[in-house]
Symmetry: C2
């Protein structure tokens, strides 16, 4: 039986940072991918009525960022001091801000409101957050924080495709080439590459 | 000169968990409250174009939750193990989910859309998150996690008034009496009480 069981939809979405970290840690994990049509039945079995969540040692834990921080610290991808940990956390929260704004626009059901939201966010919100992120990653030599590989990189890379979908900018790395450096840093790790290469077609 | 300078608007809002923790830590902090009409001029001086942020040791750090986690760990209000830290983090992220949903509804500018959002969120989203939070806090004897005082309690209490405003439920603690236990646990700490009693009228 694998050490971890990870539950999420069959796509990168919110869950991929945790999968990348589990692959990196190499303790063994079952990658339980829940089809959209199974979700209603599965939902009551989740700790918060949400996915992703992770099971280990007879317990269930939820929340993608909390799980990524936990695994990152476990696998020595955190900071050595509280101040280093704070630097990772604040930069990850900025990425999370960008993701959240993208989700607000993308998942708006009213088409007219959705168009208005994108117009508004494309004017100030997305560019400001992206410019700040570009500045941070450039300053950190192609990493999210501390000028080296941390679990913050795994969050950025795991969410990157989702963020591009939400912002409707499929070639975001063309505008910000330094973003590609983070992606390459994570996917060039052999254990991560092995995991990524083995994943077959997904629902999204 | 105080050890910390904390910058936020003149209200509880997003910033109060950090103020409560700074009061608890008692290392000294300047409580810089920025008036709304000063914000445009002040914004470029902030690390992320956002408030709150905290200055110490010649550096600036942003993001309310990251700052609360940092101070919490510094003042021994975190977990002893990585799993304990994960439990605090995931429960805090659930509170953050509730806050974020509240912000989405409250700050919707189009009145008709806003009304629709509240109708939708009041049906499922807010009740589900509140019930889950009630279940967690009840299980933890009036605390957010670990069955004892942690920085998670400071986040809940610091954001509580803001959440009540956003959800437009001024007496939320009547429906969920256990929420009041968390509030009382934090405000009964003498240093926190001294800080809270000394704060004069605020803008919001």
């Amino acid at each position: 039986m694998p050490k971890y069981v990870f539950h999420y939809f069959n796509g990168k979405g919110l869950g991929e940072p945790v999968r990348l970290l589990l692959a990196f840690g190499d303790e063994g994990f079952e990658d339980h991918r829940v089809a959209f049509n199974e979700w209603t039945e599965f939902k009551p079995k989740t700790p918060f009525g949400q996915m992703p969540f992770l099971e280990f040692d007879g317990k269930q834990y939820a929340q993608s960022l909390s799980l990524a921080r936990y695994l990152g610290n476990k696998y020595d991808l955190g900071g050595d001091t509280l101040e280093d940990a704070l630097e990772i956390d604040q930069n990850v929260d900025l990425i999370h801000d960008l993701l959240t704004k993208g989700i607000i626009a993308y998942h708006e059901e009213d088409e007219a409101v959705k168009e208005k939201k994108y117009a508004e966010f494309n004017k100030d919100v997305f560019p400001n957050l992206l410019e700040k992120l570009n500045e941070i990653i450039t300053k950190n030599n192609g990493h999210v924080a501390l000028g080296k590989l941390t679990w913050g990189d795994f969050v950025f890379v795991g969410w990157f495709d989702y963020i591009k979908d939400l912002l409707v900018v499929p070639d975001l790395e063309k505008k910000y080439p330094v973003f590609q450096k983070v992606v390459d840093a994570v996917y060039s790790i052999p254990k991560v590459k092995t995991y990524a290469d083995a994943v077959g077609p997904t629902e999204f």
